[in-house]
Amino acid sequence: MNNSFTGSNRLTRRHSLKLLAAAMAASLLPAWPGFAAGSGRWQKTIGAGNKTLPVIGMGTWRTFNVGNDARLLAARTELVKAFFELGGGMIDSSPMYGSAPDVMGHALSQLGIAQPGAAQSDMVGSLFAAEKVWSPAGGSAREQIADLQQRWKIPQFDLLQVHNLADWREHLAVLRELKAAGKVGYIGITTSHGRRHSEVEQIMASENIDFVQLTYNISEREAENRLLPLAKEKGIAVIANRPYNGGSLINNLKRRGERLPGWAAECGCTSWAEFLLKFIVSHPAISCAIPATTRLEHLQENMRAGLNPMPSAENRKQMVRFFDAL
């Protein structure tokens, strides 16, 4: 064994104390809604396990459906690279999103992340691949998943969800079997636009699921009433989709030239992207938000929302009052 300990990385008394403090803090982690990793990036613990997830992920609806257009494939590959470099984790897609799974597979293989056994890069560990089963795409759930794994060029997904509750009973049964066989880490269901919340609530209350994906942002807060408290109670991780209402929320604010309140900077909000995303991920029940984008500058702006500091409960109330008054 190469024992190359040098003076600079030998444990000093001060380092030891720091490590001790960090270990004590880590032992308290599950009780906290979120914590900042060494880089200052906010992470949240999923369910009862010790798996953590960066609070800003990435969606792929429309933005990654570029077919086999070489120019656009290269642009999306750059986006995925930047996403990981900026500490991203979850990427969400669906068989409904056209070529998005293929485009993701292209990007991952270009970046050396995809094939099993490929040279490990720093990015490998951070990818949290979330896919869906969607009845209208045809074929059985198992066929769809096998097909999607090939398209993403990865051996297995971290999370499989039933898209928009379509045929959820039969699909969830299959996903449960796959989870038991160790072929997927987590399973869940999705909805959006505030649709079918009572059915989602029933499933959350009665089924054993790890994740629920729903629309939650400062202008769509219905989930706060029942679904988010229930998720917290049952230890179900929550993914917030449509964080910008498909783009209209942030684009309207930017276009109208609305200014951020002076106090926003105190909780780390120096752009509308940070204001809107930090509002979402600072909710104690939300695990991550998955904004979609085609633009590098937007991605950078979005990823900054995962950095310390985060709004407090009081800040969040202030944010709502401010937004509602706009």
Binding site: W61, R62, T63, N65, V66, G67, N68, D69, R71, L72, P95, M96, Y97, G98, S99, D102, P136, A137, H193, G194, R195, R196, H197, E222, G246, T294
Partner: protein, 239 residues
């Protein structure tokens, strides 16, 4: 919340405007100079329709529909939209329908005698039939010439020009025009159905993508409906 009321048109369009226009562009780049053959075929079909050589018209454009089904839909559009294959099958079905029509040879030249006598000699009827045919001619010209010119005129460049025989919209529009020039009654409905359905889908897509072409597709559809209504009411031969 009522889950159906919450759906918006854009929830069903899985690609963005720039990606769709790149798709049109890539098809053009791949198949150049086939555009010229497409335009020549379209122009020939229009001239033959003016001469009421209906069988030849359908024989000329049936393979065009099969080509658009295979290249535009199956090879390209289906990459972006999971429903693309189904639209491709519909275009293939239209190709078969046109081929059958060419074999059967039914056109306005063979209006049943009973129907002809009902309107023969009636001046308003003749005018109305002429109107229906004129609408068809206008629509066919729109598909052959106006639509291809829209992209370059709006500054998008020639590669984004949509051309009969290569892209779906001009193929559907030109065929719709030809059908109005040659058919009547249920036969007209039969031949117009798939082109109109696609144009409705395409018009809705283009309006979500805020593309200028949407402004052409909807008026064409409205004009076609007027034409069909007129020609189903007055199916006379001697227009």
């Amino acid at each position: 919340m009522n889950s159906y009321a919450s759906y918006q048109l854009q929830d069903f369009i899985p690609f963005s405007a720039d990606v769709y226009f790149r798709l049109l562009e890539r098809i053009s780049e791949t198949w150049w100079p086939l555009h010229l053959l497409g335009l020549a075929l379209g122009a020939a079909a229009l001239l033959l329709a003016l001469k009421k050589r209906d069988r030849l018209v359908w024989l000329l454009i049936a393979p065009v529909w099969a080509f658009v089904a295979a290249v535009f839909f199956m090879q390209h559009y289906a990459q972006l939209n999971w429903a693309g294959h189904y639209v491709g099958y519909a275009f293939l079905a239209q190709a078969i329908l046109l081929l059958l029509l060419a074999l059967a040879g039914v056109s306005r030249g063979k209006v049943p005698a009973a129907k002809m006598s009902a309107v023969a000699g009636s001046r308003p009827a003749v005018i109305m039939v002429r109107l229906g045919i004129a609408i068809g001619f206008g629509i066919a010209l729109t598909g052959l010439l106006a639509l291809p010119l829209m992209a370059p005129l709006s500054g998008a460049g020639w590669w984004q020009a949509q051309v009969f025989g290569l892209h779906a919209d001009p193929t559907a529009i030109t065929t719709l025009g030809l059908a109005l020039m040659l058919l009547w009654g249920w036969r007209l409905w039969l031949v117009a159905f798939i082109p109109m359905l696609w144009l409705l889908l395409s018009g809705l897509t283009l309006s979500v993508l805020q593309a200028t072409e949407a402004w052409l597709v909807f008026p064409v559809l409205a004009a076609a409906l007027v034409g069909i209504a007129v020609l189903c009411r007055y199916p006379a031969k001697k227009a």
